[in-house]
Amino acid sequence: MIQPLSKSIVIWTMVIAVLVVLSAPTIVVLGASFTSGNIIKFPPDGFSLQWYAKIAMAADLRNAFLRSLAVASICTLIAIPVGTLAGIALSKYAMKFEKTLQIYLLLPFTVPLIGSGIGLMLLFGQWGIIGQIWPIGIACCVINLPFMIWAVTASASSLDPDLELAAANCGAPPVAIFFHVTLPAVLPGVISGSLLMFILALNEFLVSLLLTDARTVTLPVQIYNSIRSIITPDLAAISVVFIVCAALVIALLDKLVGLDIFLKSK
């Protein structure tokens, strides 16, 4: 179909505006991290890797990053079985109270993050587990669980139930059917869901801010605490770690399931 010129102009103007606004912070952070000066200027004063050398030596930043990785891994490891089972059950079976259940499982999404964070902070405080890493992982898992369930239900609904019946007809017992028919069918959803869970937990800021103390700050919280005092280029260098992680996850998503999965209509 040939598009009228005016339509193309309108669309492209808006898309380019969006592209500029979306990528500006990333590009600027990348540029600032390579500066050879002591303050952030744009264009940068010259090229150097000194700030990377500096953050490599900074134990507090390194530990904060390792803690963020631990939080993201715990979150993902819990989310995979929990979200996969729930997603398959929701998309395959007719259940009583299905609507109520859906609304209930959407709660992490409808309850504002600050509400979830404060609630979990009070709860974990009462249980005396604040100051440890794993509760933060669990908290990140709870607040992002709908993403995992959506991802799994999206691919489970394309699973033909007749396939499972056919397998049973050929003599496959239930566990074999689950591992050989059901699970492979929802695997793209499981993969995209768990990558999402990982990267969202790695970046999680507000809930971490509420659940961490001085011993357990995660990297986003550490960056937040530092930008409120003074903006130095080492923060840009450490932010590049997040940019690299994001790029890795995108590459993995594209390779394993294809980015187009997010464009599919349910």
């Binding site: 009228p4 005016s6 309108v10 669309i11 808006m14 898309v15 606004v21 979306l22 990528s23 500006a24 912070p25 990333t26 600027v28 952070v29 952030i40 200027k41 744009f42 819990i78 089972l85 729930a86 929701l90 998309s91 079976y93 007719a94 859906q102 499982l105 959407l106 709660l107 992490p108 409808t110 309850v111 504002p112 600050i114 509400g115 404060i118 609630g119 009070l122 669990i138 898992c141 669980l145 239900t153 239930p174 566990v175 990267i199 790695l202 970046n203 800021f205 507000l206 930008i227 409120r228 932010s239 997040f242 994001a246 996850v249 995108i250 980015l259 997010f262 599919k264 209509s265 349910k266």
Partner: protein, 312 residues
């Protein structure tokens, strides 16, 4: 052939089948889906217990002499919120801001999703997807940090303005800066919610409208918009609730002068140490958020947010 000659995998599977069959007799089959969602229910239960805790705290006032929450229940915190003009202005600022952010994000997300879905070029589609996911996956704090570099007094924009002889302006720590940061944060969410809805609209619909004499604007208004409604509802809802309750952008780009509700809550807990007051504010925010979601759901249905089986 003896059983030992079977590959290990077969024997493991047989063992698993036997264990499952023993633990889970066939006539329990109807309970299976409930058992499968049970872990998810328990996980979300943490949130519910947390909300109950908030409710409990919100009904206790801070005893100014001992700095401990009272051990009796009172509605005093809520009374103070409703009479104190400060909270009204914060609530109003958050509501107005999130409405502006939602409309701007949807307006810009629509052509982006449309181009991404409709373009015949796989390369362009991939480029648009990557440009969308990269900021989405980088997190709010880093992005806000990028804006500090760009919009600061010695930032990129002011340097460029300086080149053409314009005095540096204060671009940060005001309301528009917060809204701008929020729009940038929300556009990926909006596009990702809209794109599946646009994919579901057959391209032939547009060709048909076209051949019946509608220009592209009329096709957009009378065909695309109505058919994309579920996606618009889903995207609008997500953007509205996320920006209404955001903490990082007002905190970083607003510099303390442009607090949204979440910032006020945080301050009650960590600056004033008035837990009851913070809890009351939190509960009101949860209430306002749920009310918005409820209104949109009843008016338009769950849109693209529904989980699970399609309605037959």
């Amino acid at each position: 052939m003896s059983k030992a000659a079977y590959p290990l995998r077969w024997r493991v599977m047989d063992g698993l089948e036997a264990v499952v069959a023993a633990l889970w007799p066939k006539n329990f089959a109807r309970a299976l889906p409930y058992v499968m969602v049970l872990p998810a229910i328990l996980l979300v239960m943490l949130l519910v217990i947390g909300l109950v805790q908030i409710g409990d705290s919100s009904a206790r006032t801070l005893d100014r002499s001992t700095f401990l929450p009272s051990d009796y229940y009172t509605g005093e915190n809520y009374g103070r919120i409703f009479t104190d003009g400060l909270y009204w202005s914060i609530l109003w600022r958050s509501l107005l801001g999130s409405l502006v952010v939602t409309s701007v994000s949807l307006v810009f997300a629509f052509p982006y999703s449309y181009l991404m879905v409709r373009t015949p070029s796989a390369l362009l589609r991939k480029f648009l997807l990557i440009a969308l996911f990269l900021p989405f996956f980088i997190g709010q704090v880093v992005r806000a940090y990028g804006w500090l570099i760009i919009l600061g007094n010695q930032g990129v924009v002011n340097e460029m303005l300086g080149l053409i002889g314009i005095e540096p302006m204060r671009l940060l720590y005001n309301y528009p800066a917060v809204l701008f940061g929020l729009v940038q944060y929300m556009i990926p969410f909006a596009v990702l919610m809209l794109a599946p809805a646009l994919t579901a609209i057959p391209e032939e619909m547009e060709s048909a409208a076209n051949s019946l004499g509608a220009n592209w604007w009329r096709t957009f208004v009378h065909v695309l918009l109505p058919m994309a409604k579920p996606g618009l509802v889903g995207a609008g809802l997500v953007v509205l609730t996320l920006s209404l309750t955001d903490f990082a952008m007002p905190a970083i780009l607003g510099g303390g002068s442009q607090d949204f509700i979440a910032n006020a809550i945080y301050d009650q807990f960590f600056r004033t140490s008035d837990q009851g007051m913070g809890a009351a504010l939190t509960l009101i925010l949860v209430g306002v958020g749920s009310l918005l979601v409820g209104i949109v759901f009843t008016l338009f249905g769950a849109g693209t947010l529904a989980m699970g089986r399609e309605k037959k």
